[in-house]
């Protein structure tokens, strides 16, 4: 045989046989190696939560997530995520959480922080401070957890990662309602809030106009210059551009981004987005029409709700996108029910069209939480007094409602420059009386005085009518109120449109203090012929009960 051919053949054969042998050994050992690797990973997971099985969730998740089971029952979750410490390689962290999204254990999987400094984040004693932290905890250095001095950036990265893990599992379990705030319901104005960033509090000012987010300004912050700049630059712009709060964070400045988002949320917290909204008190709603929308089966359902005399009197569906043959009977059922029960909390849904039913209910709720289109004619009769903020100070107004008509609107007091203010009042008062509406053009050149007047009227409407004794027919009326220690009963004598006598028939309060209140309040009311009197200090409980009783007595007279 040719020697060079032999060389090639022999070498080739050796290589071929060894490759085949290796393929065989690999085929045999690969599943065992894989299984071992899995077992080791599970052993690592067991360091952060007491469980014996770790299952991959079926759906795709934002972070690496394993569902921890013990004896087949779900006992919690393991989240693996990377925090940005001092080294660019990142800190690989495992967080174990129970089914309430409370931290069970934290383990640093791997890191390349400086030995002797940053690597102190692996100290079990320090990591144990996270145990029990949940979605209601801030998990921020200096508040409920501590950073490691000398290793601030490494330890802050760990703290941030734990917080993210808690929020993530909280969201995964539906413990955190990630409802976007409905901008349409936010009244125009500027709101301030703070969020915790890398270096401390970040304060923002958020401005709304016509239901749109128009401006986000970072008023103050303590973030690292340079590192945080991209977030400070981009996040407010993104919020305004996308008209939402939960915008994407800026990589490399995650903490600052999250702080800005948290600050904006904080500024708008009264408009929902965090926690369930307060139930609506229908009885205290101003008369008028309210519009609002909420998601139905397919798209938004928009409704117009009419309120009059503290009751929902009419609900009209303005637009919806649900299948009419299912949705319309549901709407009719829901509207009838709401108007009949005047209750938005205990509500039955129309079977077979739950989404449309719930959508309508939410639309009604959203409507009633939004600003009213005031219907003055729905206001009860009586005298109204209110205050508003003018240019230089308080503006006080009064007006009367007679059979649904606004009359005798007058400015009782104001501190604005007469030259401008008088011009404003002279234009606005006839205009409002004429239109029987507050939707009038503001007097040009005196917008502040005009706004003060409108605010004062709004305030008066919100307060409701004050008692007008002159309208009370003669007689003796009795009423009850709640004193400091129990019921309190009075008899009020009205004669010739004036309160002539107030007698406390019964009370449970300590006599020496109670008599102070009774004497003081009685004298003041008789003198001023008004219930708008100061309570007697040292006997406030009795004073309030007494005023309540007198008011009740006079109201019974009017009705």
């Amino acid at each position: 045989m040719n020697s060079s051919l032999k060389m090639v053949v022999v070498l080739g054969l050796i290589a071929f046989i060894s490759a085949g042998l290796l393929a065989g050994v690999n085929y045999w050992t690969a599943p065992i190696i894989e299984e071992n690797a899995q077992a080791r990973l599970n052993a690592t997971f067991s360091r952060v939560i007491d469980a014996d099985e770790f299952v991959e969730p079926e759906e795709e998740t934002e972070f690496f997530l394993r569902i921890a089971k013990k004896g087949g029952a779900v006992v919690g979750y393991v989240v693996r995520l990377t925090g940005q410490g001092y080294s660019s390689a990142g800190i690989d962290i495992l967080v174990g959480l129970n089914t309430e999204a409370e931290v069970q254990g934290v383990y640093i999987f791997s890191h390349s922080e400086t030995p002797g400094l940053g690597d102190r984040i692996t100290d079990p004693a320090w990591l144990s401070q996270f145990k029990g932290k949940g979605i209601d905890d801030p998990i921020a250095s200096g508040t409920d957890v501590d950073a490691i001095s000398g290793a601030t950036s490494s330890s802050t990265a760990v703290i941030g990662s734990v917080r993210r893990a808690v929020q993530f599992v909280g969201g995964y379990l539906g413990l955190i309602e990630e409802t976007e705030i409905d901008f349409a319901q936010i009244p125009d104005g500027t709101y301030t809030g703070t969020g915790r960033g890398f270096g401390g509090d970040v304060t923002v000012e958020v401005t709304f106009a016509n239901g749109e987010l128009t401006k986000v300004v970072i008023v103050s912050h303590n973030e690292t210059a340079g590192v945080s700049d991209p977030a400070i630059e981009a996040i407010p712009k993104a919020m305004v551009a996308e008209q939402k709060i939960q915008v994407d964070t800026v990589s490399g400045a995650t903490m600052t981004s999250e702080a800005i988002i948290a600050a904006v949320k904080d500024a708008l917290k009264e408009f929902g987005g965090a926690g369930p909204a307060e139930p609506i008190d229908i009885g205290s709603l101003l008369p008028g029409t309210y519009t609002g929308s909420a998601k139905g089966l397919k798209d938004d359902i928009t409704v117009e709700v009419t309120v009059s005399g503290g009751r929902i009197t009419k609900i009209v569906v303005l637009s919806h996108d649900d299948t009419p043959e299912y949705a319309e009977p549901a709407f009719a059922f829901m509207i009838d029910q709401i108007i009949e029960t005047q209750d938005l909390e205990e509500v039955d849904f129309y079977s077979g069209a739950t989404f449309s039913s719930e959508g309508l209910l939410n639309a009604v709720k959203n409507a009633l939480r939004s600003q009213v289109k005031l219907d003055i004619s729905g206001l009860p009769d009586g005298v109204y007094v209110g205050e508003g903020e003018g240019f230089h100070g308080i503006t006080r107004v009064s007006f009367r409602m007679v059979s649904g008509e606004l009359k005798d609107l007058e400015v009782l007091e104001h501190n604005d420059t007469p030259e401008y203010a008088n011009k404003a009042f002279a234009t606005l008062i006839p205009a409002i009386t004429e239109a029987q509406s507050l939707e009038v053009d503001l007097a040009s050149g005196a917008t502040f005085s005009s706004q003060g007047l409108l605010d004062a009227i709004m305030d008066a409407i919100k307060k409701g009518p004050v008692l007008d004794v002159s309208q009370v027919p003669d007689g003796v009326y009795s009423g009850t109120g709640e004193g400091l220690f129990g019921g309190l009963q009075v008899e009020v004598t009205v004669s010739g449109g004036k309160i002539t006598d107030i007698v406390v028939v019964d009370h449970q309060d300590t006599p020496e203090y109670a008599s102070l209140a009774i004497d003081g309040i009685t004298k003041a009311i008789l003198d001023t012929q008004s219930l708008d009197v100061d309570v007697v200090s040292g006997a406030t409980g009795t004073s309030r009960g007494l005023l309540e009783a007198i008011e009740a007595a006079l109201k019974s007279a009017v009705q």
Binding site: M7, V10, L11, I14, S18, V25, T29, I33
Partner: protein
């Protein structure tokens, strides 16, 4: 030569570590613990045995010009097999040996034995040679590992020898300790053999012994 003599040759006269000074990298690197020394030694012995057997069996087939590449392929194959088996069945050892497991390929001992011995001797002799040299290597690594483990951590094969509170010379568990321990051991063996050599000369020649006193 008897089987026993053949084995003794590898352990003493041709001890790869202290006599031939081959395979120094793994010797220094993995001997932080005695058990790692045993593991590395046995893994190397297994590869050596395999490659010696195959090389000896194929000594008449492999053309002289491609003998080195052929040997390398054969050695690398056995190294990979051993590495896969360790990963599957002895993971902690696999992890402790780390990069030095694939690096058995370039351990001069193995290629050296294939070239200098197995390619010229019969199967049986090559196997005995591999076992002798392998055992010698294992023994050296184990002793070195035991000494470093004792000095550095106060344990031997993981057993607590000194009180746990004893202040140990951690330096012996670290790289500098590897160099120093091996250097001192080599000097010790050199010194001992030098004396023994003199003594055996003296036994054979009483005149010399008398002169030396």
């Amino acid at each position: 030569m008897s089987i026993l003599q053949e084995l003794k040759r590898g352990i003493f006269a041709e001890n790869p570590t202290f006599r031939l000074m081959l395979g120094m990298c793994p010797t220094l690197a993995v001997t932080t613990l005695a058990v790692n020394g045993v593991g590395m030694g046995l893994a190397t012995t297994a590869v050596l045995l395999g490659s010696n057997l195959v090389v000896s069996a194929l000594k008449n087939v492999i053309p002289n010009q491609v003998r080195i590449p052929s040997f390398i392929v054969i050695i690398a194959t056995f190294v990979t097999v051993v590495s896969l088996l360790l990963e599957a069945f002895a993971y902690s050892l696999y992890e402790a040996l780390g990069i030095f497991l694939p690096l058995i390929v370039v351990n001069c001992i193995i290629l050296g034995r294939a070239e200098a011995y197995a390619s010229k001797h019969s199967l049986g002799k090559s196997a005995l040679d591999a076992l002798g040299i392998g055992l010698g290597f294992t023994l050296s690594l184990t002793v070195l590992g035991a000494i470093r483990e004792f000095l550095g951590a106060g344990t031997v094969f993981g057993l607590q020898v000194l009180s746990e509170s004893a202040d140990m010379a951690t330096i012996f568990s670290l790289p500098p300790g590897a160099f120093i321990t091996l250097g001192l051991m080599m000097a010790l063996i050199n010194g001992l053999t030098a004396r023994r050599g003199k003594r055996s000369v003296a036994r054979r020649n009483p005149a010399v012994a008398k002169r030396e006193g």
